[in-house]
Amino acid sequence: MTETRRLLKNLGARLSSGARDAVSRKQMPIVPPDNVAGRAMVLVIAIMTFLSCLTLGAVTLVRDTAATWQTQIAREATIQIKPEEGLDMTAALAQARDIAASYSGVLDASIVDAQATARLLEPWLGTGLDIDSLPVPRLVIVTIDPLSRPDFAGMRAELQETVANATLDDHRTWVDRLVAMARTTVTIGMSALVLMLSATALTVIFATRGAMAGNGHIIEVLHFVGAEAPFIASQFRRHFLLAGMKGAAAGGIGAILVFIGFYWWSSRNMATPEADQATALFGNFAIGPSGYIGVGAIVIVIAVLTAATTHVTVLSYLKSVDSTHPDSM
């Protein structure tokens, strides 16, 4: 009898003292891992992450390429002079060049000489061509300081007044179209990304509800021993966070491998027509550092999204269980 009393007194004293000790043996999780997030769920998350990363990669590729084009195009303007009976082309070119060079913001203006023009036309007209015998328009390339662009309207008016048949093309239309195209692509890509993340969240909701239904007896016992809803949710969340991290990491690594593979392919086939096509469109087919950072961000977002979705789902599930049918004893 005294033994019991000592035991319980002892127990009470120690319980109330609540001394904390960091040393802790590894305990079995309250919700067993194997009947929660199965392999299928890890796989779904991996696939979703993979697709999201590819989408993001494509978006950054388009955005970066468009930006490169834009700065390249914005650095140049061209003055074109059409030949005409009785026009002194050499004088007209020199005049146009001098007018262009007189504007502030123009770094350089140079005439594309006869040989260079011939070279430009070589693919179409062949070699050994007498350029002067043909009515070929001639060009003046104007190099622009992209930070302080010259007054194109003024330049255009002055050229029209003084040089016959001169037209100035500042490539504005192209740049505008390019920006619009890039913006559309980025918007579409981002919408696809949002859809994929939503699908991932929905998958997690279904998986969580399944896991909760399968572990009803555990939830019941947890309720009986006084577990609060957030504690129960945390028990499920840790499994899903782990599954989410596994799946997201696998998907992210897969996407990076694909990026590297493409880069390798495009640099190995540099001279082939297909690769030239890709290079012409995308510059060097390489996902820049922002692409890789994006992959990392998506992996983190998906892992966090998984954990957060599980948490919210468990809490709302517990709420609905509580109000529809009470626990049984």
Binding site: S24, M28, A229
Partner: protein
């Protein structure tokens, strides 16, 4: 809605009291304990728990109130994937306690109920009596204000039943109110305590 299992039942469980709840099988003992444990809501009538109206208790308050109540379930309700030790420690774990702070207490209690050797065994391979003892240990590990025990000695031999009864009496002396639901007359005869007898949905109290 089926027939009313409990009707016109009115009683008070004082702090630190000790009582038996008996009655034939199907009389509603478990149902009454579930009402007290708030896992069942009364269709009508008033229940006041620790001075609080049952119907006014919110979902967030419920777990905190339940921490003052220890329950031994008739069917034990142990978690099969946790060891005996982990099952008994579950109420402490749920309260966010570090394992190091309670480990020795749990082991001591397990030894006392005769499960020292079966500590790291999973419930499916425990005998009925061993499960029962594990369930009792889990209910009293936190020294609750009230202990509700549903047939706590139904699966053990008379000698062990006496030992467990002593443990419950001892717990009562330390300040826990105890309700033991049983139809074991032999057990009730061992203690001179209040008897609440259910039959036909009504409750008779013999002080």
């Amino acid at each position: 809605m089926g027939p009313e299992i409990l009707r016109d039942v009115s009683f008070h469980l004082p702090e630190r009291s000790f009582q038996f709840l008996s009655g034939p099988s199907g009389a509603g003992k478990t149902t009454l304990l579930r009402l007290l444990f708030m896992s069942l809501k009364p269709t009508r009538g008033l229940i006041t728990i620790f001075g609080k109206d049952r119907s006014a208790i919110t979902r967030t308050e419920l777990p905190l109130l339940r921490r003052n109540i220890g329950v031994v379930f008739q069917d034990f309700r142990l978690l099969d994937h946790l060891t005996t030790y982990e099952n008994v420690a579950l109420p402490l774990r749920v309260r966010g306690r570090e394992e190091a702070t309670y480990r020795s207490d749990v082991i001591e209690l397990l030894k006392w109920v005769g499960l020292g050797e079966r500590m790291h065994v999973l419930p499916p391979i425990l005998s009925g009596g061993e499960k029962q003892r594990a369930a009792i240990a889990r209910a009293l590990i936190e020294q609750p204000r009230i202990l509700l025990a549903d047939e706590p000695t139904g699966n053990v031999d008379p000698q062990l039943a006496r030992r467990l009864l002593r443990l419950l009496i001892e717990l009562n002396r330390l300040g826990t109110a105890v309700v033991i639901a049983t139809h074991d007359l032999g057990l009730m005869d061992q203690v001179d305590a209040r008897r609440m007898v259910l039959s036909g949905g009504r409750l008779e109290i013999y002080d």
